[in-house]
Symmetry: C2
Subunit: 332 residues, 2 copies
Amino acid sequence: MAVTRIEELVTPALVVDLDAFDHNISTMAMALPGARLRPHVKAHKCTALARRQLEAGHRTFTCATIREVEGMAEAGLGEDLLLANEVVDASRLGRIDGRVTVAVDSKQTIEAAAKGGVKEVLIDVNVGLPRCGCAPENAGALADMARSKGLAVRGVMGYEGHAVGLDDRSLRQDITAQSMELLMQAHADVGGDVISAGGTGTYDINTWANEIQAGSYVLMDTAYAKLGLPFKQALSVLATVISTSASGFAVANCGLKALGMDHGKPDIDGGGNVMIVSDEHITFIPGEPVKVGDFIRIMPAHVDPTVAYHEHMHIVRDGEVLETWEVDLRGW
Amino acid sequence: MAVTRIEELVTPALVVDLDAFDHNISTMAMALPGARLRPHVKAHKCTALARRQLEAGHRTFTCATIREVEGMAEAGLGEDLLLANEVVDASRLGRIDGRVTVAVDSKQTIEAAAKGGVKEVLIDVNVGLPRCGCAPENAGALADMARSKGLAVRGVMGYEGHAVGLDDRSLRQDITAQSMELLMQAHADVGGDVISAGGTGTYDINTWANEIQAGSYVLMDTAYAKLGLPFKQALSVLATVISTSASGFAVANCGLKALGMDHGKPDIDGGGNVMIVSDEHITFIPGEPVKVGDFIRIMPAHVDPTVAYHEHMHIVRDGEVLETWEVDLRGW
């Protein structure tokens, strides 16, 4: 079969640098081997990629949506799936052929788990991020309630999402320590083997949790790149320059429908300044002169909502497309 | 067949209020009948929706991607499709069974059109937005070049994208007037019948163009809602409350993968303040008390990148799902 070069891809296209990807996988597997990492699939939404994580020794996974849990189980990756999120209708989860644990933080979500046929839960504890999770002091009572409904309570989870992105490592450590103190108190009341927390920004800081839910480490983005972590930028969006201006700016075909924008503008590989991003365009001042037809690589500020726009990711080395993986866990 | 209620939808889900939608379609068709409007499909990426625009009298359409042009033609809506964007490989366009016109703004894009087998072009003129388009004074020479390559030049296009979103109507008028002065000069040099420009924010201001490329009007978003236009908010994302906190905030299952965020945070129908949006969650202070299991409607700040995340949109009236349309023009 003829080799596909990246220049033959329809742009915009998600490309993954295989060397950086392999580096990230092995660096994390060394730091958090086996079940010490419960990779979060929400960052990549791709069972082919999850399989690489499994081959690196991680057999347990974290999901954010029911669709992700279903897709992982269908792909044969359902040995131990945690839906680290609350649901009010767990009936689809109960039908999954695989081990499914769901986060609960209220009477309603406990009842939903029991009614839906899910057998195992974690008590989700709010450790400071204004999102899901019960108050730490209520965790024990919720665990009792869950057990009274016939559910096995595997332990606790509590995501220090307000810490993971902090630039200052010592602040990140302090906030993580405060958060995990709350989680450990809740765990003492709840029992069970699992203390699940953490993310890419705290993977080597959070020594309280016995499993870390990192996901972004494998592809990375410019927000996490600022933290000085040992992970390389593996993901970029390949785009084609379609217009240039005598005023000095250029335009490429990668816009708001190819980039998650909540963390701000993306970066251009090789330098340059992004002026505006519109639906299907990025306008930028190139670092080096570009001409119509040139390819550029764009590094998104936030990996998760970027990947969710794309049907495929292309695995490349030295400009060759080695494999194309479907982003098969999109939707809900 | 049993009636589907919106409460039975898997959330998050795009829902379109049929009454608001019909109002928007008829209001626009009255203001800009038939070919005076060339609806932009990038706002909705849905051929079923485009068919409603056609039934309202608009038989010509604007597209932003090759995939949109292909999908429209495959759906039998290819009577007169304008790709209002530059491409450096037009071979897929040349194979389309339908009338395809492509925007060109350089020697390279003209050569790409000719080589790809496209027969008709518009000269894209930069009228002030830092994006594609040639300098107005170069439009005539590019038209000559295109004709020398055997291409029919239908006229000009020039998008006043720096005007369409301005809150102050008189400023919007002034910038539009300045932009269209440039476009009319270019048109004098280029010739042809088509002067294509405009958007939802200038649909009734831009009296220079003989066709307006509005798209957002049909679904609307909170950014355009601020302009006092006669179009109603038809689109929202239906979400389920999955957690509440004694601190007063609530969390619903609609996050960064269900909402375009470049225009800022969305609004909650019925009031409330959005605190944070994360990958699969929105944390908000409810206007009225909510409980786990309640449904809320979220109005996105920017319609186009919101719709592009969803597989379907559900057409609803009085809480009943009347139809479900595939968002079939996603991808590239």
